[in-house]
């Protein structure tokens, strides 16, 4: 014996409204979908049939809740079909029953009509089939899961009419402005005329065709039509537009060039339609990762939506489509490089990160755009081509930290250093090397920069022997070695340099200061034991007047205090956080110096 589950329709509706759909307003989308699918089905048997959809909001009759009437001249249903489709959850007249391939239809999940229960306790469907001879049938479904069917004496054209009576709490979805907004929102691209009739009059919801479906007499007209469309759709005054198309996925649309720079950080979302019905306003993953300088409106006839119907399913078709759309944008840029270099310059000023991202993965593109892409250096922004004209060897700093430490010092030695800390810059530099193998590249950090500093003469070294010994003693507990060289600018008394491993070690030290012995032992294991003995190096500048005085101080205590303060100051200049040991060192140093100053004043007064 087989039994059937009793399914609680109320519960299902609740689930639908709360989980599957992002909001109750999608009932308008579902109704539009049903209408369009019914029209598509009718076109299979009557190819010349002109489909239409009517939405009507009659003036409310004294105290009655508002009514919404949704009508199409599609295929309609016979009584037998009504039983089969409307009464069975999870099945609509779309899957296999109707003529044509399943992919001709928008709805794929057969829950369309149910979504109406989210705003209405009763759904009335009046329908007459275009196929049979039968008359008009009325189906009444209730939110508790019951329904009734009867034949009604009413002359009606083939098609389906759905009547929804507003349920308490859903009034806002029945307001004429809201219905008009939603119908336009979801259906503005639909190919069949949708007429909305309210007590204020009748209007066409989808009067305007999207620009990619129109023909234009001139390039100027096309341009203004596209940009107007962008302004209307996104309320953004875009810089430019790029028509998009892909044979795979049957995609048409447009990409608008954003008028402000986008950061890598922002979400890149687009407005996408599936078979001309709005699928999502914030679909992701439609374009290649690099293409974040545009915002798109796109219709796809042949991509698969995800179950939540918010984006497309990640499959081979989507991947190929993405590549094709990427090519549209790439060609746009390549053409511009050829025909409108000044416009390209303006575009790059805004969107160079996005364009760098493309250049990083596309050799041919890189070769052309390397003449355009800006890089930050310690002597201002320039392109790699410009850099190469001026300098034989290309110096670059691998990260922000290093760049900041050395920018000034390097500049005063006329060393132009590229800041390669930004996204894609390291990859682009590598590419540049591959393409121009004769160029010498040198990574430069504070460490190897200071290797170029001028050495002291023997007699100069002799002068400061005792200073170096004292400084080494002060700094040994901080795993910092000491050196004295001559370098510019003279107003820098000392330069602290540390390697990357040292920075990691430093972060371990900071964590170990607050944690217990167990975690300390774990962190010790992570710390690379093979690392050099010292984590950092403090390089004093022999040319600096302050250093000159400190190195010759007779008062040993005073000299030690000065070294302490110079060390901490050079850490702070490099924006390095202090460990508590270093904080203590700074306090001792500062307080010691204050005390010493106070002593002198006191001595003077006496």
């Amino acid at each position: 014996m087989e039994y059937k589950f009793q399914v609680n329709l109320g519960g299902i509706i609740d689930l639908l409204s709360n989980h599957i759909y992002s909001s109750p307003q999608v009932f308008i989308r579902e109704l539009l979908q049903n209408a369009v699918d019914a029209i598509t089905a009718r076109a299979h048997i009557e190819p010349s049939h002109a489909g239409r959809v009517w939405i009507e909001l009659p003036a409310p009759a004294g105290g009655e809740p508002p009514l919404l009437i949704f009508r199409d001249n599609g295929i309609g249903l016979t009584e037998e079909e009504i039983h089969r489709f409307l009464a069975t959850i999870g099945q609509t007249s779309k899957r296999d029953e109707l003529s044509g391939a399943a992919s001709d239809y928008i709805g794929q999940f057969g829950i369309g009509l149910l979504s109406c229960f989210v705003v209405s306790d009763e759904i009335v469907v009046l329908t007459r089939s275009a196929t049979g001879a039968g008359g008009t049938t009325e189906w009444r479904g209730h939110a508790d899961g019951t329904y009734s069917i009867r034949s009604v004496e009413r002359e009606m054209e083939a098609g389906t009419e759905v009547r929804l009576r507003c349920k308490p709490g859903s009034e806002s979805y029945f307001r004429p402005e809201e219905v008009a907004r939603l119908a336009h929102h979801y259906g503005s691209l639909l190919p069949h005329p949708i007429t909305l009739t309210t007590p204020q009059g009748a209007s066409l919801v989808n009067e305007e065709e999207p620009p990619w479906k129109q023909e234009f007499a001139s390039a100027e007209l096309e341009r203004s039509a596209y940009l107007d469309y962008g302004l209307k759709t996104f309320d953004i005054d875009f810089l430019d537009y790029v028509p998009l198309h892909s044979a795979v996925g049957d995609v048409r649309g447009v990409a608008f060039v954003l008028p402000q720079p986008m950061s890598l950080a922002s979400r890149k979302t687009h407005r996408v339609y599936l078979k001309n019905m709005l699928l999502s306003e914030d679909a992701e993953g439609l374009l290649p990762e690099w293409a974040f300088f545009v915002k798109c409106v796109v219709n796809a006839n042949d991509l698969r939506p995800t179950a939540s119907r918010e984006s497309f399913y990640e499959d081979e078709a989507l991947q190929t489509t993405r590549q094709a759309l990427g090519r549209c944008l790439r060609n746009y840029l390549m053409d511009m490089a050829e025909s409108a270099p000044q416009r390209l310059k303006n575009l790059i000023a805004l969107h160079y990160i996005s364009i760098k991202a493309l250049a990083a993965e596309d050799d041919e593109f890189f070769r052309i755009f390397v003449n355009w892409l800006p890089f930050e250096t310690n002597m201002g922004t320039m392109t790699l081509t410009e850099y190469r004209k001026e300098h034989e060897t290309m110096h670059y700093a691998p990260d922000m930290d290093q760049f900041r430490q050395i920018a000034r010092v390097a500049a005063s030695q006329s060393l132009c250093v590229i800041n390669a800390a930004y996204a894609y810059d390291p990859q682009l530099l590598l590419k540049f090397q591959d393409i121009f193998p004769e160029v010498v590249f040198r990574k430069i950090d504070a460490n190897n920069l200071s290797h170029n500093f001028e050495f002291l003469t023997l007699s100069e070294q002799d002068e400061i022997v005792s200073f170096v010994e004292a400084a080494e003693e002060v700094l040994r507990p901080f795993r910092c070695s000491v050196e004295v060289r001559k370098f510019s600018p003279v107003d820098v008394p000392a330069l602290y340099t540390a390697s990357n491993e040292a920075s990691f070690h430093r972060s371990i030290e900071i964590s170990k200061e607050v944690t217990d012995s167990f975690w300390s032992s774990v962190l010790d294991r992570l710390d690379d034991q093979s690392r050099e003995q010292s984590d950092g190096r403090l390089c004093f500048n022999y040319r600096n007047p302050l250093f000159y005085k400190v190195s010759r101080m007779q008062d040993e205590r005073l000299q030690r205090l000065s070294v302490q303060v110079l060390y901490v100051q050079s850490l702070l200049l490099g924006h390095r956080p202090l460990t508590s040991k270093e904080m203590k060192l700074m306090n001792e140093g500062l307080l010691g110096l204050v005390e010493w100053g106070a002593d002198i004043i006191e001595g003077g007064v006496q």
Partner: protein, 369 residues
């Protein structure tokens, strides 16, 4: 002084906000590294904690888990000092990430790993949480070590334990079941369980890409190479830029060799080898070198004695002309993989990693023609 502090506080918060919306990766990590560095120049523990909290996530999902751990240890210590001040749930949730990744570092001893798990369990118990997640991670640990019996026992315990706010999300739990069935050798059941994930009905940050990847070899075993190819496409496009998924990317690498797409495999090697160098996670490196070895052996057997590859300049065998003897490459990757296997086995006290290298011979049998 106080104006200066306000500036720094504002700057730190701005960095955290900006990083929040960013894609995973180096730039996000260095932005938050900067936030931590700046916060540490103040004495505002809350600010330091918030910066680290964001940094932990970026580092963990950006492929530098050891940096995440260092920051986590700091946060945990601050939390223990002043539990009222910080969000208990979050620090416990992050704990799972830490135990998940700690095994990947063979320099961490077995005792230390167990002590971490015990500490985690203690904290879960103390805050009234169920032990489902704890058992899950004990299972993963034992599985990682190669202690099959213990692993199975903990999985059973996990399945019996209740779900709560520290249990992994539904998509991850299903993916766990898939992984477990594969571990038991029931490919068909694993595939069936994976269905809602593969169809995109349940998903999260790392599922279904993880699921796709782990099913590639089993699908070949089940004689469904075309399906495997589809899943490979889906998985690879989702993880090709995600360093924290290198472990799974290695399944794509193995798959390409078995599917005889040697060109595709070579491109993957060129593109992702650099990750293994920049990424200090030895387990990821083990898997990548193992997969590279399989690729090179396959190429060799296909008669390709010389390969044209654009390797990173830092590759020890780097050749400016981009020409490599397949045998040399194979030896190099094989030696590295063996070296790492030996280190893991020494720490784990089993020979599981060496066995996983030997298993490649069986996996190679799955080659499609």
């Amino acid at each position: 002084m106080s104006a200066g502090y306000m500036d720094i506080e504002g700057k730190v918060k701005e960095l955290i906000d900006r990083a929040y919306y960013m894609e995973e990766g180096d730039e996000r990590i260095s932005m938050l590294e900067e936030a931590v560095r700046l916060a540490d120049t103040t004495s505002d523990v809350k600010l330091q904690y918030d910066a680290r909290d964001s940094f932990i996530e970026a580092a963990y999902f950006g492929g530098v888990p050891e940096k995440a751990l260092v920051a986590y240890v700091w946060c945990l210590a601050q939390y223990d000092r002043d539990p009222e001040h910080f969000w208990e749930w979050k620090i416990l949730w992050r704990y799972k990430w830490m135990v998940n990744v700690i095994c990947d570092f063979p320099q961490i001893s077995k005792e230390q790993i167990y002590e971490m798990l015990d500490d985690m369990e203690r904290r879960f118990r103390q805050t009234g949480r169920g032990l489902r997640a704890v058992y899950k991670y004990r299972y993963r640990t034992e599985r990682f070590f190669g202690n099959r019996q213990e692993a199975l026992r903990y999985y059973e315990l996990a399945e019996q334990a209740r779900r709560d706010d520290l249990t992994d999300c539904a998509a991850c739990e299903t993916d766990d079941q898939v992984s477990y069935r594969l571990y038991l050798g029931d490919d068909a059941l694993a595939l069936r369980i994976a269905e809602p994930l593969l169809e995109g009905r349940d998903k999260c940050r790392s599922v279904p890409q993880r699921t796709y990847a782990r099913l590639l070899v089993p699908l070949l075993r089940m004689g469904q190479p075309e399906k495997a190819w589809q899943y490979h496409i889906s998985a690879y496009s989702m993880i090709a830029t995600d360093r924290s998924m290198l472990e799974y990317l290695c399944s794509n690498f193995i798959f390409l060799s078995l599917y005889n797409d040697l060109k595709g495999a070579a491109r993957l090697l060129e593109k992702h080898f650099r990750w293994t160098e920049e990424n200090t996670n030895p387990y990821d490196r083990f898997l990548f070198h193992r997969a590279a070895w399989l690729f090179l052996e396959t190429a060799q057997e296909a008669g390709q004695t010389v390969l044209a590859l654009q390797m990173a300049r830092s590759f020890p065998l780097y050749d400016a002309g981009g020409s490599y003897r397949t045998a040399d490459l194979k030896d190099w990757f094989q030696a590295r993989a063996r070296e790492l296997a030996a280190r893991f086995d020494a720490r784990n006290g089993t020979d599981y990693f060496t066995a996983r290298l030997l298993d490649m011979a069986t996996i190679k049998e799955l080659k499609t023609l």
